[in-house]
């Protein structure tokens, strides 16, 4: 499997670290909503087909990437920097949210 890093170009999958489901939203750190935290930590979307994922180019530029990939064929549909607008807000506060 090749992943085309937007910065480094096409690289072998072994350069990348998989960080899983990119559809999760981290609750506000001040939140005491146990259900929301439990869902964030343990529940995953696990579709057979198109999946939004977070990868890190750990053996390269170390950028976090938002990858859209087909879990049935391993075909990669798109790769963007996770920080770019519109990427799934995995592990980040949405812009403008209070700390």
């Amino acid at each position: 499997m090749l992943i085309t890093c937007p910065y480094c170009g096409p690289r072998d999958v072994s350069e990348f670290a998989y960080q899983g489901d990119g559809n999760r939203t981290r609750p506000d750190p001040a939140s005491t909503d146990a259900e929301a935290w439990s869902a964030y930590v343990y529940d995953r979307l696990n579709p057979a087909g198109i999946h939004n994922e977070i990868w890190q180019h750990a053996g390269g530029c170390r950028a976090h990437l938002a990858v859209v990939r087909d879990t049935l064929t391993h075909e990669i549909k798109s790769v963007r920097f996770a920080r770019e607008h519109g990427a799934p807000p995995h592990g980040r506060r949405t812009s403008g949210a209070k700390a």
Partner: protein
């Protein structure tokens, strides 16, 4: 109905093997059943068998998308063991081990259960201490475990590189002598025949395409062979849990599906009479009765429903094998394949009522489902029949994650690909 004995072998040999009967019927689905079990793999078939045998529920259908044994029951590396650290796991898998010890007799079907031992190697003093702790935890619950010295290991497994010059020198190991291997296909066929004889309908080429609902309650399934109703619908589709639960409208689960590859080498003369695991990576190897080495390693490490993996893991597995057995370098790989595993968030399975009324769920087996086949079926059948878990599967709930009672044998946390 197929009966196997010395006499029937001889009789059929003399008649040119034309008179063998199928081991199970090929019935068409009825309009309704007491229980539908989705998934004709090891766990689904054993669930149906124990529902009929232990709980007297024989109006049961097992629905299988493909043919029996086409999924993970025919794709695993056949190891059977109960060497766990945490008591919830140890009790469950030890119960399974005891069922394995009597399984061929119980099914009257030779599952070729061979208690050749499973040996976990330690490559650092700290790792050996850790194995000693695990061995003590096992012995505390009455499970056999024995710490082996390098000299003993060298005698038991002559091909191993025991030198101190090895990349990862061997400091010792933990042996469970009662562990071993079984013929995985025979397990599926034996349970299928046993269930069929007790009246269970095993329906192959029958894909579930949706759940019939009455409000929240599940009252049956729609399939590629029509609608089938049932008082209770049991899901035992590890590997495809995400897909099947999505049909029930549940798209978030504490599970990720990952692909695990396995390999078989060309046949060699017998040289390995135990199952061996490497401690400085993820590698395990046994030798089948045909002589081929059966081995595997780590998951590919990303979500996948494709039953195939990629090449970096192939290279990693081969290099790990050569680190242990340098003399195997000229041996050729005969074939390799991939299977899809339900990787749960704590590495332990889920056998429970729910999550919807009328539904029962058996999933999250990570890559350890084969050894659990008897106990999983027995406990799941108990859960379905009594609407309450057996004491051995009571800890394996779906809500243990939100309740904070996870069973994380490896202490890895919610990173499923690391379990």
């Amino acid at each position: 109905m197929a009966e196997y004995s010395a006499f029937s072998l001889l009789k059929n040999a003399l008649s040119g093997n034309r008179d063998w009967k199928p081991a199970w019927r090929k019935p068409s689905p009825k309009a309704s059943y007491d229980v539908i079990v989705i998934g004709g793999g090891g766990h689904g078939l054993s669930t149906a068998y124990y529902l009929a045998k232990e709980f007297g529920i024989t109006n049961v259908a097992v629905l299988e998308k493909g043919y029996l044994g086409s999924g993970n029951v025919g794709r695993n590396t056949t190891a059977v063991r109960s060497n766990y650290l945490l008591p919830q796991n140890t009790r469950f898998y030890e119960h399974s081990m005891k069922m394995w010890e009597n399984l061929s007799h119980d099914l009257n079907y030779n599952v070729m259960f061979s208690q050749r031992g499973v040996l976990n190697l330690a490559h650092t003093p700290g790792q050996l201490d850790d194995l000693a702790r695990k061995g003590n935890a096992m012995r505390h619950l009455g499970v056999d475990a024995e710490l082996m010295t390098p000299a003993e290991i060298g005698c038991r497994v002559p091909g191993l590189d025991m030198s101190q010059r090895a990349r990862f020198p061997i400091f010792g190991g933990l042996m469970q002598e009662r562990a071993g291997t079984a013929r995985h296909d025979a397990v599926a066929w034996g349970y299928a025949r046993g269930a069929d004889r007790r009246g269970v309908d095993i329906i192959e080429n029958c894909e579930v395409t949706g759940f019939l609902r009455d409000g929240d309650r599940v009252i049956g399934v729609s399939t590629s062979r029509g609608e089938i109703r049932a008082k209770k619908v049991a899901v035992a589709v590890a590997g495809s849990t995400g897909r099947v639960m999505q049909l029930a409208g549940i798209d978030r689960m504490p599970i990720e599906s990952h692909v695990l590859q396995a390999f078989v080498s060309e046949s060699l003369k017998p040289f390995l009479d135990t199952v061996l695991t490497f401690g400085m990576g993820h590698f395990y190897v046994g030798q089948s009765d045909k002589g081929g080495l059966v081995y595997g390693g780590d998951l590919d490490g990303y979500n996948s429903y494709a039953q195939r993996g990629s090449l970096p893991i192939v290279e990693e597995v081969m290099s790990e094998m050569l680190a242990l057995f340098p003399s195997l370098a000229p041996v050729r790989v005969l074939r390799s394949w991939g299977g899809v595993c339900d990787m749960s968030m704590d590495g332990s399975p889920i056998i429970t009522t729910g999550p919807l009324p009328g539904m029962y769920l058996n999933c999250g087996w990570c890559y350890g489902g084969f050894k659990a086949t008897p106990a999983s079926g027995f406990c799941f059948a108990h859960t379905i029949a009594k609407d309450a878990p057996h004491e051995f599967n009571a800890p394996f709930t779906l809500d243990r994650f939100s309740r904070g009672t996870v069973i994380d044998d490896k202490g890895q946390g919610p990173t499923p690909r690391m379990h």
